[in-house]
């Protein structure tokens, strides 16, 4: 399943989702602010909170299983290695990859994109070649490409979007020309919540022989992803966006690509043999995992994926669609509010501006009510520029958010103009 699951909102087909039960798994969400009101955490697109199962897995690893992985002959080392490599299998299954060797552990989506830009794309780029990105990319899926283009005399081209924050796919065939060496596109926009039809985009790119990297950082917390179904060459995700720890993520890459790519960084664990004359590199994924990796991070990440896997995704999808509909309706009803990003296919992310108030004032005032929002350009300055807003306030939801929290958000935003007078 790759697209957004269709939410069945009407009557009898509704799937019950016990938000109270899943919420109880998240210790951080139990806290209150100074005046005793509950914390309303709506900055999930920036990072998600962690369930007890993830926190415990990390704690257990350090309490019982910690050793440096690979090569050690003692039992503890083998246990740590099994956990780390087991996390790779978990990620493989969760993403639908054909082979565990296609799963490279990285620090996060940003490092995954950089790895592909430098190791895969850069050697293929010649002066006059082109790399295509979209108008709604996060800076981390723009800047690495810009850097390699600049160095190689290549050109960065951009798939435009419309005023609702949807990609103009009609423009794509013309952008994918004989000089196009790479297409990098986000699955879900962090700033606008737009879900892009990546399967369709990849299919078109493949007919032109253009490899595709999909930035999946914002998709994985909301959608079930199958990289083989999407058909992409690379897919990048971050652990901390999917209820796992920071500092760990996964790059999925098709094995033939990874096997042909030179190392990204040199160091221990990525070599077969080293002499001062010649080093032979290890096969993927070890080739791209120089140095001691974030072992506990991988273990925690796998625990997060297992947690997600155990959820009833039909119910999650309906619940999130209802949160999105509720938040969109409640915010739109406030005088002066304009929703930024009104794509037909969206995850539960609502960016908005309030006439007469800067996003930062909205954020500070909402914070007094315990409502945590992100304000600013959300690391997507080109998208903000195109939409003509210097900054927005953004409420981004996860499956553990509630309708009461949507009401708290609306109440806080309603108060802003009153405070500013």
């Amino acid at each position: 399943m790759t697209g957004p699951r269709q939410a069945r909102l009407g009557g009898h087909s509704r799937v019950a989702f016990d938000v109270g039960r899943v919420r109880a798994d998240f210790p951080l969400l139990q806290q209150t602010i100074a005046d005793g009101r509950p914390l309303v955490y709506l900055d999930n697109a920036a990072t998600t909170q962690k369930p007890r199962q993830v926190i415990d897995a990390i704690s257990r690893f350090y309490s019982e299983d910690n050793a440096n992985i690979h090569r050690g002959v003692y039992d503890l080392c083998e246990r740590a290695t099994r956990l780390y490599e087991g996390a790779r299998f978990t990620a493989q299954r969760f993403l639908g990859a054909a082979d565990a060797r296609e799963i490279v552990f990285v620090r996060g989506t940003t490092e995954a994109v950089n790895l592909v830009a430098y190791s895969f794309c850069r050697p293929r780029l010649h002066p006059g070649d082109e790399v295509v990105v979209s108008a709604m990319e996060h800076h981390s899926n723009i800047v690495p490409w810009q850097l390699v283009c600049e160095e190689r005399g290549a050109r960065l081209r951009v798939v435009p979007m419309n005023g609702r924050g949807e990609l103009v796919l009609e423009a794509l065939p013309d952008l994918l020309g004989p000089r196009t060496r790479m297409l990098a596109v986000t699955h879900v926009s962090n700033a606008l919540g737009t879900v892009n039809p990546v399967k369709e985009i990849v299919a078109l790119a493949r007919t032109r022989g253009v490899p595709v990297l999909v930035d999946g950082a914002q998709a994985l917390p909301h959608l079930r992803v199958d990289v083989q179904d999407i058909g992409c060459d690379f897919y990048a995700v971050s652990g901390h966006k999917v209820f796992g720890p920071t500092g760990v993520g996964v790059l999925y890459g098709r094995l033939p690509h990874l096997e042909a790519m030179p190392p990204y960084q040199g160091g221990g664990d990525m070599i077969r043999s080293v002499s001062f004359e010649k080093t032979t590199f290890a096969a993927p994924p070890a080739r791209f995992e120089a140095g001691t990796p974030n072992i506990a991070g991988a273990v925690g990440f796998a625990a997060a994926l297992e947690y997600l896997d155990a959820l009833d995704w039909d119910a999650v999808t309906v619940h999130e669609a209802e949160l999105l509909a509720h938040a969109t309706q409640a915010l739109s009803a406030i005088p002066g509010v304009r929703i930024i990003g009104t794509a037909a296919e969206k995850v539960a992310v609502v960016s908005f501006v309030l006439e007469g108030a800067h996003a930062h004032d909205v954020g500070t005032i909402a914070d007094e009510d315990g409502v945590a929002l992100r304000t600013g350009h959300h690391c997507a300055q080109p998208a903000m520029d195109f939409l003509g807003v210097p900054a927005t306030a953004r409420a981004s939801f996860a499956f553990y958010n509630t309708h009461a929290e949507v009401e708290a958000l609306a109440a806080a935003v309603s108060r802003v103009r009153e405070v500013l007078g």
């Binding site: 100074a34 800067h358 996003a359 004032d361 600013g376 210097p390 900054a391 007078g421």
Partner: protein
């Protein structure tokens, strides 16, 4: 936790609603643009300096209530002062908003003392400082740009 009304004081709200000295000035001898790239605040300050005295000043740009009010109150405070006095005021203002332990001297700061409440909101300090950094650049080089990041 800091109180919201310490941040959004009446004087600040008034200057946000009705900013003073908004717009370009006719005979600018210096100007600079400053931005908080992470916030999307952007301001240009224009100054006319003659014999070391700020004869005229104006600003344009867009930003939050704190940055707009700060620009408005700053332009009011430094109009007619010497550039040295303006720089001293900048230092006093800067110390006040970044150092929670610094005493607030209403005599030195005048109306600018209303920004003391910003100290309780560390994420908003750069909003209050933006206009001042931009003025500093406009007085220094005659033209340029600054960023708080």
């Amino acid at each position: 936790m800091a109180e919201l009304r310490d941040l959004y004081q009446q004087v600040i709200l008034d200057h946000n609603r009705n900013p003073r000295h908004r717009g370009r000035i006719a005979d600018a001898t210096g100007q600079a643009t400053g931005d908080n790239p992470l916030c999307g605040d952007r301001i240009t300050v224009f100054v006319e300096v003659e014999d070391g005295v700020i004869r005229d000043i104006g600003f344009e740009g867009s930003g939050c209530a704190i940055s707009t009010a700060s620009a408005s109150l700053m332009t009011s405070a430094v109009l007619g002062t010497t550039t040295e006095q303006a720089e001293r005021l900048f230092q006093a203002f800067h110390s006040m908003v970044v150092d929670p332990a610094a005493p607030v001297d209403p005599k030195a700061l005048g109306k600018l003392a209303v920004f003391a409440g910003v100290r309780g909101f560390p994420a908003r300090v750069k909003c209050a400082n933006l206009a001042w950094h931009t003025l500093h650049a406009a007085l220094g080089s005659g033209a340029g740009s600054v960023s708080t990041e």
